[in-house]
Subunit: 370 residues, 2 copies
């Protein structure tokens, strides 16, 4: 509820008992996380309108599914959560529409890679309404339909608001702790805030984009976990650093495994870099070995020196493996020329003789020579 | 058949027609590969005694299986080929014994990691006879049994000699091309031999161990492929380099995926380094997500600076993914401290929140601090 940094005291409000308690601290770690963004629109409090972030929200969500037995779902937002939910609804035989204010899904991906996922959603009977936000939700006490900016009315007995999250910074802000330009708590690589003995970690605080060196905000579970470890280590007298992240992520959308790390080509241009890229489709096993699957790979490098900037992988194959190779290459500041001669593990059940990542790096490297 | 390097001529013998032809060359690439080592023991030419390296050997092998319909197999040698074959024989319901002259299987792995595979073979009813070579093969025209150094006689109607390969260097040697201390053709990073305009690539030539910087010989298909590309590029006027390899490899043994890269702890000590290591067993997915499998990881780093030296992974889980992360980390000369904060892709179908590779690196890093 309140931090008194001068007295090194934290005041906590027990919501159930409505009682305040005050604790002395030597070191304080703020790990308040983030919460789902909920737009203040008409009908937002109707039964059947849910968010999906905390465990209590999950409980509310599953009860809603159980009691409503929905036939039509609208998912607002075409990010990771929205797309994963679309698959879950499809499995439950719920007719599903995704409404997204942006013109396309997966804005962190380059358009042609996002399009592969887009088309796959359509093939799986997910309706996509893009470039259109929701303005209100109809219903007496239960949601019955959603109204969009363009005036479309879409039947929906369950509406999931998945338009993103925002950091829980109120506690820090009230105490005067510096909030960064991303809107999350500013920290250094030791996870220290600008207040002595106060750390922050997780989705409530910023981090460094290790490709651009810029401050950014990446609310992902694994990064939160790493940051928490560093903050805890330092609060306990250690000397750990969290050097930042590449925003590496992966998710499953029906038969596709969708992964990215680092900058998209779009993001690289926006960051003032001169990227070049290659895209290709490759199998993830030796051709003659059963069970191999396809991968669409996009690999992006700096035109000047070949340094890898990012990768995107979409396909039924082992996107997670490929993206972890790419993320490790980014960590090592490797170039496409380096990766062209990477020594990755080959045998037919596991890989083609040259990993798709090596082939893509080789193609990039050839383009640089021209 | 013969290289006349002064005249830039190559003489080829057509074995079928028994005719010699001579070709002029501007650039010559020697890609003569390697062949299976065949010990000159009694009975080696009996029917049912086979090697498994070339396509013609494969044809001979499959015909032998078809005509003999073997009940008992002896595999001589407990390397990758021998172990992969044991599984194939098991599937064909052939009772299988592996005879290996060394005291243990998989000498490139550390003993405790090799032991996991050893135990798994036993569980799958493969008999292992270690520290015992074969001295002769009994039989009139068909093999019937194998005799070992210790005097054991093992019934065998098929005997596979899989004790290793040696480089085909005769053509190069006859012409006076330098043979390295490993016994394979010496080349520089451009894949040039010591003779002008003559290159070598693949299993017939040496390479650099990128951890130790020493010259080594790694007859693996993916390395041969990479070397061939570099030799071809340079022979065609390009300027490519093959910087060496880590000996990254993976194979499947029944339910285990077995992978390694870089130096084992044993090899690191032998190379005069001071390694430290951690070993752990981890799941390859979030605990609550179905289908996750276990991995046994061993990660080895330099005690002085934490630089990663090698990794070994054995388990039913995604060993191939983990080893490719490790191999890329070696390529980037990364330390365990670097890898402790790697940004690898997390979501429950693909990984625990922290990749086993991050957890292992973190454990190594903690040990270094002590």
């Amino acid at each position: 509820k309140k931090i008194n940094s001068k007295a090194s005291q934290l005041t906590v409000l027990d919501m159930e008992k409505d009682e305040e308690s005050t604790f002395d601290y030597d070191k304080l770690i703020i790990a308040t996380g983030a919460r789902a963004i909920v737009p203040p629109i008409e009908g937002i409090n109707l039964e059947g309108v849910v968010t999906l972030r905390s465990i209590s929200e999950l409980d509310r969500f599953t009860s809603a599914i159980d009691s409503i037995k929905p036939k039509n779902a609208v998912i607002v937002g075409a990010g990771y959560i929205g797309l994963e939910l679309a698959e879950a609804f499809h499995i439950l035989n719920i007719s599903t529409t995704i409404v997204e204010k942006f013109e396309r899904i997966l804005p962190r991906f380059d358009p042609e890679m996002a399009e592969l996922v887009h088309n796959h959603l359509i093939e799986n009977n997910i309706e996509l309404i893009l470039g259109d936000g929701i303005v209100s939700i109809n219903g007496a006490d239960k949601a019955t339909s959603v109204v969009t900016e363009s005036g479309r009315i879409i039947d929906a007995d369950i509406v999931v608001i998945a338009i993103g999250v925002k950091p829980n910074i109120e506690l820090a802000k009230d105490c005067g702790i510096e909030i960064g330009k991303t809107g999350a708590i500013a920290v250094n690589t030791k996870m220290e805030t600008n207040f002595k003995n106060i750390y922050a970690a997780g989705d409530c605080c910023e981090t460094i984009d290790r490709v651009t060196g810029e401050t950014t905000w990446i609310p992902l579970g694994d990064i939160a976990n790493l940051q928490g470890r560093v903050a805890g280590d330092n609060a306990a007298g250690g000397n750990a650093e969290f050097p930042g992240a590449f925003g590496t992520s992966v998710f499953k959308s029906f038969e596709l495994n969708v992964a990215m790390t680092g900058l998209s080509e779009t993001a690289a241009v926006k960051a003032g870099l001169s990227p070049i890229s290659v895209s290709m489709t490759k199998g993830d096993r030796a051709r003659y070995y059963p069970g191999g699957k396809e991968l669409n790979i996009k690999l992006i490098a700096n035109k000047n020196d070949g340094r890898l900037l990012g990768a995107q992988i979409v396909g039924p194959g082992v996107s997670d493996k490929m993206i972890d190779i790419a993320a490790t290459a980014l960590l090592g500041k490797l170039t496409c020329q380096d990766m062209e001669n990477a020594d990755l593990a080959y045998s037919p059940p596991f890989s083609p003789v040259l990993s798709p990542m090596i082939v893509a790096a080789g193609a990039l490297s050839s383009r640089l020579k021209k």
